[in-house]
Amino acid sequence: MIALLLRDLKLSVRAGGGALIGVLFFTAVVAVVPFGVGPDLNLLSRIGPAIVWIGALLSALLGLDRMFQTDREDGSLDLMLMQEHPLALTVLMKCLAHWLGHGLPLVIASPLLGLFMNMEETAIGATMATLLVGTPALTFIGAVGAAVAVALPRGGLLVSILVLPLAIPVLIFGVSATYAAVEEPAPFLPPFLILVAITMFFAVLGPFGAALALRNADD
């Protein structure tokens, strides 16, 4: 199982893996916002956390469709389905590898983009913390969408649309926790803990859902 994690990580950083594409897209989305809304520093710092979160959400959706499709195209998925180890565990490992390859770089890039948005240190720290616990949920939800659409050619957009409604709560609690860290009366911890709960919930449900979809994806 660790072998699968290492293989997928290697693939995500080698040519065509797309780990960097997500970060570049994230940077592009956030970097154009100041040009769009103008040089109003107060406005930028107020909408900053929301923009960074939306950018991260969109970039996280970007690479999802390839999660199982490459393995299906070259026949690896068939062999994974045949093995003794539970398929949900295999999917969990692929999710972890996908998050390490695609999600974690977004978290690491977020402080820099926070500077673009004129955010305070606390806001940057809070955004980074919420992204760290929130992006795994996006990967686990996305795994189900990617598994459902695995048999469809050009299913990329479909995956994003399937996944988006389920990803909205993650966005809501991620952004509200970040705002709570900066604006005084609202407490930071409750929305943050709900975000953690969402991630843990989908960490359990996602792999089983995706495994079920993959088992029934035979053509």
């Binding site: 199982m1 660790i2 072998a3 699968l4 290492l6 293989r7 290697k10 693939l11 080698r14 040519a15 065509g16 893996g17 195209e73 070259d74 026949g75 690896s76 068939d78 062999l79 994974m80 389905l81 045949m82 093995q83 003794e84 035979d218």
Partner: protein, 214 residues
């Protein structure tokens, strides 16, 4: 050790592709599936590998020390049309990954990556990315994948596609070795594999079902 299939039928779209296919494979036995293109050879192999759900019938694996609930496909290696190797990774990385991921089925041990590559006659190029290899070399490396971990049953779908005659004889020897070691082979093929007295199963496709299938 026995691989038993009873009354298998499979559907492709609306129509039954084959019906009531039964066979039994024992230790050291080979089954060659023949038939025209589109007659259901690959479908039958995918059903046995557990990748397609049969319309009726079951595939069972039985051996004296099999755990209860062992699915038949867990005892099988499946070599399909696609090689299941990543072009971005080197051959060694590919084979090492599958060796670790597969593990060994009880009752045997897989070869090391180097030995498996030597066995298919390509020991010197395991450091190259898989994508740099020619189609025939890729096929041979996909065959080496069957040897890095032990499975008693090999399901081979057109194993000799894209191979020259020298490579074909190498593969035939490997298949014979596997049979001598108590393994089983089920192969869909057009070329004779040069095996001694394999069982044959002729697939007839839609035509063989007659009128009532409609």
């Amino acid at each position: 050790m026995h691989l038993t299939a009873e009354n298998l039928s499979a559907r492709r779209g609306e129509d039954l592709l084959f019906r009531n296919v039964s066979f039994e494979l024992g230790t050291g036995k080979a089954l060659v599936v023949t038939g025209r293109n589109g007659s259901g050879k690959s479908t039958l192999l995918r059903v046995v590998a557990g990748l397609l759900r049969p319309e009726t019938g079951t595939v069972r694996w039985s051996s004296k020390d099999a755990e209860v609930g062992t699915r038949a496909c867990e005892a099988c290696h499946y070599l399909g049309h696609r090689n299941a190797m990543k072009p971005e990774l080197s051959v060694r990385e590919n084979l090492l990954f599958w060796k670790r991921f597969f593990g060994d089925f009880e009752g045997g041990h897989g070869l090391s990556v180097g030995e498996a590559a030597d066995a298919v006659g390509l020991g010197g190029i395991v450091h190259l990315p898989f994508g740099y290899l020619s189609a025939g070399q890729q096929r041979r490396m996909a065959f080496a994948k069957l040897m890095v971990s032990y499975r008693p049953v090999w399901l081979l779908d057109e194993p000799t596609a894209a191979l020259d005659s020298a490579a074909e004889s190498v593969l035939t020897d490997l298949i014979k070795d596997h049979l001598h070691g108590g393994g089983m082979i089920m192969a869909a093929t057009h070329q004779p594999l040069g095996l001694d007295n394999p069982q044959e199963l002729a697939m007839t496709g839609f035509a063989g079902l007659g009128e009532e299938a409609w």
